[in-house]
Each structure stands twice: as C-alpha cells, then as structure tokens.
C-alpha cells in the first residue's frame, strides 16, 4: 500500500482524512484505485483518464509530470502527495 496525502481542498471527498492508502504499481493504478473507492475525489483529480489541469501529483517529492506521468512506477515506501496548483509563491 502507498500512503497518499490529501490537501485540505480535497478532504471532503475522502471523509475528512489527511492521508489515505491506495494500491497499485504505477501512479495511474494508485489514482484509479482512489477514484474507485472515492468517486468524488476521482472526478476532481482525473479528467478523461488524464490528470486534471489544476492538480499536481508528487511521488517521492517529485512532480509526476516531470517523471513518467501517470505511468511512473511506484517504489515501496514512497508517498504520493496531491496538491492544488496555486499561483506560485510569495511573489504574489
């Protein structure tokens, strides 16, 4: 199982939890597993089978968009982090 951290924005979709678990060998499998168990979450983070525009997904602290995307393989002990895309930083 892989730990998945849920941002405040999406906690209502997982019954208020800060962290849930998911199973799968790739990021896609993890997200599909989540979407099956928490359909409201799936509707927010996936658009037509791809990552929704305003969600960022990190595996081992790196954005999966700069890894192999949804096909990125998940190693044992890694954590998946979901975050909303926000206007960057302090310079706003």
């Amino acid at each position: 199982m892989t730990a998945v951290r849920i941002p405040p924005t999406l906690r209502n979709e997982v019954g208020g939890e800060r962290q849930v678990e998911a199973s799968g060998a790739t990021v896609r499998e993890l997200l599909d597993d989540l979407a099956e168990r928490y359909p409201a979450l799936g509707a927010q983070i996936l658009t037509e089978g791809d990552l929704a525009q305003f969600v960022n997904v990190y595996l081992g602290g790196e954005d999966v968009r700069t890894l192999d995307g949804l096909d990125t393989e998940v190693a044992h002990g890694q954590t998946l982090i979901l975050l909303p895309a926000m206007a960057g930083g302090c310079d706003v």
Binding site: P7, P8, T9, L10, Q44, I45, A52, Q53, F54, V55, Y58, G61, E62, D63, R65, T66, I81, L83, P84, A85, M86, A87, G88, G89, C90, D91, V92
Partner: protein, 314 residues
C-alpha cells in the same frame, strides 16, 4: 556589461550582472562543482529587479505604458519592491495587492519604497491577491498591470540576463536549479542555457505549502502561470519549509552566504541533484538574501514546518 569601476547613471543600470560564486564546502563530491548566482545583490535585493525593469521597459516600448498611468501588481514581496524601485526611477506610482499574512518586513519595505498597498484575504493566499488585482484593473482603466505571471518580458529578462550571464561565466552547466514561482527564472534561464549546454537538466525547487496556506477552495480555483510550461522542466521537486531552512543554515554556516527561504530550497535541491552526478557543474540561482526573513519565527522554532505553515514564503 556594467563595469564596477565606472559610475552608473542610476540604479536602473545596476540591475543584473550579479556575482556567481562557487560553494566548495557544499559539494557532495570532488568532481561536482556547485555554484550560486547571488541575485540578492541586485539593487532592491532580489532577482525581481530584472523582471520589473524588463516588464516596464517592454510596456514603454510597446506604447502600453505612458506617463500618467498607475502600475498595479499582485505581489507580497520581491516583485513589489523591485517594481516600486523601477517605477519610482521612471516616474510611475505603484499599488501592490498582497495577502494580509505577508511578513512585516515586506509590508514596511513596500511602504518605504513608496508603494500603495491593498490587502487581500490571507486565507486565499496568492490566488486571492491575483483575484483582487484583476478586479481592480478591470474597474479602473488608469491601472496598468504588468502581471508577471503572464508577461513574456519576465522570462525574457532571464533569457537575456540571468541565463546569458551564467553561460558566459561557465564552460559547462549540467544542472540549473531555481525556485518555482511564476516560472520566469526557470523558463528564461533554462532556454538560454539549453542553447549553450543542450543536455542541461532544468530543475525547479517548489515549496510544499502548509495546510492553512492552501485554504479550502476548490481545485477549479487553481492556477498555472501562463508563462510556465511544465514540459520544459526536467525535474520539479517539492521542498518542505524545514528542508529549506536547514539548507539555509548550512549555506550560511559553511559558505557565509545568507540566503532567503527559497534560496535554501534551491540549495537543498542543488545538493540532491549533485549527488546524482559523477562529475559536473550545478548552478543554483538564489533569488534573494535572508534579511527580509529575520523577524520570522522559524529561526528559533522547534518545529520549523509548523511555525511556517501559515505563510507563503516564496
């Protein structure tokens, strides 16, 4: 290029041409050289002087910005201070929209530099500042908003400045690390460095936001800066506040370089990627120095992440 021995006509001429310094005590192995580009040495203290000058001069050149207009920008810090400096020297008033939870130094600095301030709700974070600024600009036509998130003059400042300076200074660059905010530094510097060093890895250090900063808005309120093309990043690494501050302390303790919070994050990622190299050159762009963060609680906090989670730090 500006020569330090010749007097400058004004601070406008002293933007850019920042020092590049090796950080030998931070390199994880003998074959890897780590360098820091000290953007805190720009006239108003950050890399944003480049962006502010570039955006204002581009708008003047295109005719969009004329005497009598009033500049407006959503910014809680470095961009505002930089715009305030450049706007002052060029004779434009400036209003900054910034979240209520911006640090006191930033607020004081902006006021001292002569900017007018409009505060946006702290719990809406940076997105709230953008929203309020867009509404103001819509309502009052005297405002001209450079809007660094969507302004091509932002990455261009780094293509022509930051990137060109690094390419001129070094014979080899394997990794470029910069903080991710608007994406301007990474896009412009990265593009310029790829021309000289086609295999360079362009890596973003990205802040891991605390829960209060993210708020409870829906994903639909999300924002990806139009000038940021994530496909042009080779790596994008989340850095916690605690990791940033730890790296900041190491940078100051071993090399005597006093960086800001994002500089800590950049050095953290720079050292991490340096570990992956057998030999090569890693360049870290340090956006500002640490002075503006002295009043922050995190210097003495037992739990750095917790003490920092209510504020956006870069």
């Amino acid at each position: 290029m500006f020569s330090a021995l010749r007097p400058a006509g004004s601070l406008l001429e002293l933007v850019g041409s920042t020092p590049l310094v090796e950080l030998p005590r931070l390199s994880p192995k003998p074959g890897v050289k780590l360098y820091a580009k000290l953007e805190g040495q720009n006239p108003s203290g950050s890399i944003k002087d480049r962006v502010a000058r570039s955006m204002i001069e581009a708008a003047e050149a295109s005719g969009e910005l004329e005497p009598g207009r009033h500049l407006l920008e959503p910014t809680s810090g470095n961009t505002g201070i930089a715009l305030a400096l450049i706007a002052k020297l060029k004779g434009y008033p400036l209003t900054c929209v910034l979240p209520e939870n911006a640090t006191e130094e930033r607020v004081r600095l902006l006021r001292l530099y002569g900017a007018e301030l409009v505060r946006s709700p702290g719990d809406e974070g940076s997105n709230g500042a953008v929203r309020v600024a867009l509404e103001l600009a819509e309502r009052e036509p005297r405002y001209f908003m450079p809007f660094q998130y969507a302004n091509e003059a932002n990455p261009r400042a780094h293509y022509e400045g930051t990137g060109a300076e690094i390419a001129e200074a070094l014979d080899r660059v394997d990794v470029l690390v910069a903080g991710l905010g608007t994406g301007g530094t990474l896009m412009g510097t990265g593009e310029r460095l790829r021309e000289s060093f086609p295999d360079v890895v362009v890596a973003a250090a990205e802040p891991l936001p605390g829960d209060p900063v993210m708020g409870l808005r829906s994903l639909e309120d999300g924002y990806v800066p139009p000038i940021l093309d994530v496909a042009k990043l080779d790596r994008k690494v989340l850095v916690s506040n605690a990791e940033s501050v730890a790296a900041l302390r190491v940078l100051l303790g071993r090399e005597g370089v006093f960086g800001g919070v994002s500089a800590g994050a950049v050095v953290h990622v720079g050292r991490m990627l340096a570990e992956e190299l057998e030999a090569g050159v890693v360049v870290c762009v340090l956006a500002d120095a640490g002075w503006k963060y002295l009043s922050a609680d995190f210097w003495n906090a037992r739990d750095v992440d917790e003490s920092m989670e209510k504020t956006v730090w870069w």
